[in-house]
Symmetry: C2
Subunit: 358 residues, 2 copies
């Protein structure tokens, strides 16, 4: 028996996305006005606003709002939209600090935050260092303000009390996942289990499970329902990241907005690479050790690596793993008692997150 | 008419400090056990525990607990102690990121977090970079966990609802204060107003006002009482930072735990330096421009700078400014309706924060 939905209308995900963007713009515009100005400073709240609104799929806020509908959420959606939008500020925090740690120059086809800030302080002799330092602070602000958006969303005490433990768990998962990821870069490794652990912590829980649970909790979901959310979300989150890893190597940079050599130059430890290393011949392994993680890797070298990822069947296996997880996720959804509009939206989200080209 | 105190006993500040340390140790030991281990990782919760407990005066947690008593707080102090201890984790976040931005090698007489982490990863070829990157994450964790300590302190919904806006304000103040500070380093500047703005944001509100208000809010303080807290705390916080600036230049490094050349080499923009620049003769100004902010400044150069700070009367003026603020703070206290044990503790805190040698 399905929970009753407030509406039988399909959920308009593009509209939810626009509403979250509007909430973010309102919040950050307010911060621009509140902060102490100085002739020496730039409007960092404005910088964060432009950074956040310039791109991104808003998958976390959208999943959160759908989670609220899935758990039978009714009434004024504004507090939930604002709390959901706060997840995007948390994501901005993670991206900004991640790009500093990886020394990435671009994000979503635009300059990364530390590059952007270095350019804004270009008149100063220490602009490079200032770019990195102010980006650390910009990330800190994004984290702090993601909380403030939640705290000031107009939620009841009860809703806030239900939300905080989920967010606390999510934040520890993301940061410790980043830590595991940081320590596994460099040389290609055959440690498939380790890369799957990183994926689970850094992405699977954070991108789908926790946002969905957060939305459901805001509608008063009980532990059973939160478990149902996980059954759908964890395999989907893994599939999402496996697709992301494929796009990082085989994707079209004009579509992904991410230079296709970055992941390979960084020597990012992915299940894709771990599988290739496990199956490589001695010659292929030599090639991987030589090229993966090389800072000066060129397009020719990347083509050679791609050849190994295909010839070892690693790429096909990852496609298969995505497919298995996608089906597991849909299967969980079929057994969930979500209202039809929410279930239908979650099916669409699963299809686009696993089959996406960007 | 004074508010009724639960007890007429004097508050034992050293005991409060020990109780906060015990709460921190319990929380972080729990995190050490919860986090996913790996042969590649080190116990970062344990690293944070050792870092936090190695030193520090715990002024923020102590002030917070005294604030609770000042507002007539009664009953089980444990939730308040745990929430107060969370302020120390927030402080660890601020210090860790600050030391990365300043490239400081030491903190409280021990290695700074990024140096500590670089040493722990010394076996890896990229240990320097890994030290900085993992320190960014360690700071992020400290921030995230400071919240979690508060959320799980056992406060009522009402208490939490009263605490969050104060903490949100504090966190924005600290990060934007850091930002102002970052942009003002380098060359000595005569801009006294600017340095006082930085002090107010970065330290005065954060070190005394917000912790005191937080404690008072946890005891149900009304806006009037929170205003009384500010009247005591803002001048005291300014005096505290002015003393800190003096110690950074004239203090004994064996007592402060801070190399006495760091502030001068960094070219830290302080009211002390701004006053000296405003009053300097042409010759003194040349000397300041040449030596302040020079990365290779030696003890001889530092002695020359100290001479200018004294000869211009800048040092004496700062001592006078500390004294004025100390008296203003005590005056506010005399007019506050705090219970005697709390008022007496706040008098002791004011004396030690403005006259301290470390």
């Amino acid at each position: 028996l399905n929970r009753r939905a407030c509406t039988a209308e399909p959920l308009d995900l593009a509209r939810i996305r626009r509403q979250c963007d509007a909430a973010l713009a309102r919040f950050l515009d307010g911060k621009s006005q509140d902060l102490p100005g100085s002739t020496r400073t730039i409007d960092i709240a404005g910088v964060l606003r432009d950074y956040v609104l310039a791109g991104g799929k808003r998958i976390r806020p959208v999943v959160c709002v759908v989670g609220w509908h899935a758990a039978g959420g009714c009434g004024d959606p504004q507090p939930v939209l604002r709390a959901a939008a706060g997840l995007e500020l948390f994501h901005a925090f993670a991206l900004i600090h991640d790009d500093i740690m990886d020394s990435s120059d671009t994000r979503r086809g635009s300059p990364s935050a530390h590059r952007l800030l270095a350019a804004l302080h270009a008149a100063r002799p220490d602009s490079e260092r200032l770019g990195t330092n102010t980006a650390i602070l910009l990330g800190d602000l994004a984290l702090v303000w993601s909380d403030e958006m939640l705290h000031t969303a107009g939620l009841t005490h009860r809703q806030l009390g239900d939300a905080l433990p989920l967010l606390d768990a999510m934040r520890t998962e993301v940061v410790t996942g980043q830590y595991l990821d940081l320590l596994s870069g460099g040389q290609p490794s055959p440690d498939l289990d380790h890369t799957m652990t990183v994926i689970r912590h850094k992405t699977a829980k954070y991108t789908v499970e926790r946002p969905l649970q957060l939305g459901a909790a805001l509608a008063g979901a009980d532990p059973d329902l939160l478990g149902t959310c996980s059954a759908y979300a964890v395999p989907l989150g893994e599939a999402f990241q496996l697709r992301d890893d494929l796009l990082g190597v085989f994707g079209d940079p004009h579509v992904t907005g991410k230079p296709v050599l970055d992941d390979l130059r960084e020597g990012k430890a992915t299940p894709l690479m771990a599988l290739a290393v496990r199956r490589a011949t001695a010659g292929q392994l030599r090639l991987l050790h030589e090229l993966v993680g090389a800072a000066d890797l060129d397009e020719h070298g990347a083509a050679e690596i791609r050849g190994v990822l295909e010839d070892t069947g690693a790429r096909d296996t990852i496609e298969h793993m995505i497919d298995v997880r996608y089906r597991r996720s849909l299967d969980a959804l079929a057994h969930a008692a979500f209202p039809d509009p929410a279930a239908e939206a979650l099916r669409r989200i699963a299809a686009s997150a696993t089959g996406r080209t960007a």
